[in-house]
Amino acid sequence: MSTEREHDGESEPGRTGTFGDYGGQYVPEALMPALQELEDAYERYVLENEDGFMDEFRERLRDFGGRPTPLQRADRLSERYDREIYLKREDLVHGGAHKLNNALGQVLLAKYMGKERIIAETGAGQHGTATAMAAAHLDMPCEIYMGRTDVNRQRPNVYRMRMNGAEVNPVEAGSGTLKEAINETMRDWATTVERTHYVIGSVVGPHPFPQMVRDFQAVIGDEARKQIREKAGRLPDSVVACAGGGSNTMGTFHAFVPDDEVDLYAVEAGGSSLEIDEDEGLAPNSATLSTGTDGVLHGAMTKLLQSGDGQIMESHSVSAGLDYAGVGPELSHLVETSRVTPASVDDEDALNGFHRLSRLEGIIPALESSHALGYLEEAHENLGDIVVVNVSGRGDKDLETVLEETEKRDLEAAPEVEVFDQ
């Protein structure tokens, strides 16, 4: 890396909003005053609880969002893997995913800041849905940008956003996935920045977003850490979470980062292969932490899937929510300093993880979370006696994709496809 910056520890950004070499604020000048305004608001309301912001946020998380979520012992998975497996049930948050934690925090913050309009981008549609719900709950006008490909593969979430009163703007550019949706949302923000707040959906983007989103999601790990001590009498040996941008990952890991005895595994989408086609600019995976290189995208220095020239690659995953060529800068830093171990699971093993949890535990997980469950199957022998897995969301939104992808394969964990044809 060419840039040397200040930072003050493992997991806190330095004065310039960086985690080691990663992070920063690489955005058009027009947005810089808004980032400063947001940073000031974040420090006052979130870090210092001015006007009781955090009290109101926690109350709304409880009464509107349904927190705390359970930490459930998964009996049949524990039996299968011969160790204690605990599931953090973020699928039970209102809306069906951890995304509400952050969306509610940011929409509420925008309201405290006096902003008049909310915009957001979405990949799988979970963040868009959570933002639309939070905006309806707090009576804020809301527009969501979503790549055309994702609109087509996540129709139930598109309907849900519209039912909650949000406008959904399909983005036709490029491959029509999350990367293009983020570009378009940044353009909207650069035009309307004075009255609009951009609810970034993950621990990505310019400072203070990575730190602020992590803090809104840290409730996952805070609860899990307390719950595992109550249930198992000690901290876990391992914590496993899937990683796209990394918001459920950082939310789950944050409380455990100082616990050196707890191993942290960030499971990425291995797609169909970890090989990269440089000529075509295609990565048939979204395994940024495992295979990416350092660069600047969407406002931050982080690890990226990019060509040698610096062009960003089209990524791939069977899970729209993981399909992103970047990753949060704090996760890049934690991987670089070996505190977090990156891993990847391919599409097929993720689908098997999906079917296995559905069959064994009666929980239909999001395809994103299915990557963490696929990793459990592969790596359980190395994960110690007590393992916490974050089930970041529920899989109802993914049923069409799962049926289509399951039909193409001979999956050991899937039910017979003919069942659905009768």
């Binding site: 955005v27 058009p28 810089m32 035009t191 610096g310």
Partner: protein, 315 residues
């Protein structure tokens, strides 16, 4: 003023003190400017700065287009080095970038084009920070800046690099005699404006309105507000984002700018021309129209000035 007059008269092209700290400007040809970029924008007042995307539709066509813009009276020419995620661009330039990338435009090819170009107007590269970082074997800004200097480029504009993150690139540019141009947005005010204006080299790129690049039908009131806010700084100011016609150029110069920057309107010409020859002719004609507009604006300013001489002391 002839082209020779626009060149600095030798000596160190860089000066330790940047724009805001210098004495008031003078358009006299004997004045020694900090760089050829500053000489171009101050020396042939009012300046026309033109932008096209390199490689749109091919690097060979870009060479002819740049030469046409030079003949048409451009005082500075910005060449876009295409990046796949151009978050500051509107649909016109985004489409041009996509065409250039589909045509296989690479940084290496871009620099070979610049090696071949011989223009009166100094050339600047406009690109995103990741393209600069990735040029060498490791993420580092220096190899790009050194190659840019070797190719004869005079400056760099980076739409996603605010002053806060610019130290490494600024140092590399200073060491290689290149200007690093900063964008001033309608939202840039107060101390932040002071800080950026004290770091500007070459000229301040004044963003005419909030949003992305793209030709517009009129000049935004934000342009007038921004130029009024910047009037106390003795730094050359050029206005871009939305400028497409000679009349816009006249209005912007009359409002106090030293130059106008036109991009999307020229990219539109390239996109809509049926043959490369048609594009070249139309680009040259459009540059002349814009330059005439700018001159008309300056004439109006001169007429006003004759009645009411401007202050020479700057706060």
């Amino acid at each position: 003023m002839s082209d020779e007059d626009r060149q600095p008269e030798g000596g160190d092209p860089r000066n330790d003190e940047r724009g805001a700290k210098r004495p008031a400007s003078d358009t006299d040809a004997s004045v020694e400017y900090d760089s050829d970029v500053e000489a171009a924008i101050r020396g042939d007042h009012p300046a026309l700065i033109t932008y096209i995307t390199a490689g749109d539709p091919s690097l060979e066509d870009t060479k002819a287009s740049v030469e046409a813009l030079d003949r048409g009276g451009s005082d500075l020419i910005e060449l876009g080095l295409p990046f796949s995620e151009p978050i500051a661009e509107g649909s016109t330039i985004q489409a041009a970038i996509n065409r250039a990338l589909e045509a296989g435009t690479t940084p290496a090819g871009f620099f070979e084009l610049v090696d071949d170009l011989e223009t009166d107007a100094p050339l600047l590269v406009m690109t995103y920070y990741n393209m600069i970082l990735q040029f060498g074997d490791e993420p580092d800004v220096r190899p790009f800046v050194e190659r840019a200097a070797e190719a004869g480029l005079s400056g760099i504009i980076v739409p996603d690099l605010p002053a806060e993150e610019a130290d490494p690139l600024r140092e590399a540019c200073d060491d290689n005699g290149l200007d690093l141009v900063f964008i001033i947005a309608p939202t840039t005010e107060g101390e932040r404006l002071d800080t950026i204006m004290s770091q500007v080299s070459g000229f301040a790129y004044v963003q005419a309105r909030l949003g992305t690049t793209g030709a517009r039908a009129n000049v935004s009131s934000a342009t007038h507000d921004s130029l009024a806010r910047l009037s106390e700084y003795d730094v050359p100011k050029a206005v871009g984002f939305g400028v497409s016609e000679g009349d816009h150029a006249a209005e912007i110069i009359e409002a106090g700018a030293d130059g106008v920057i036109v991009g999307s309107a020229l990219v539109d010409i390239i996109a809509s021309s049926r043959t490369p020859e048609e594009a070249v002719d139309a680009l040259e004609a459009k540059a002349r129209e814009l330059k005439r507009g700018a001159r008309r604006g300056a004439t109006d300013v001169a007429a006003d000035a004759a009645e009411d001489p401007p202050e020479t002391e700057h706060p």
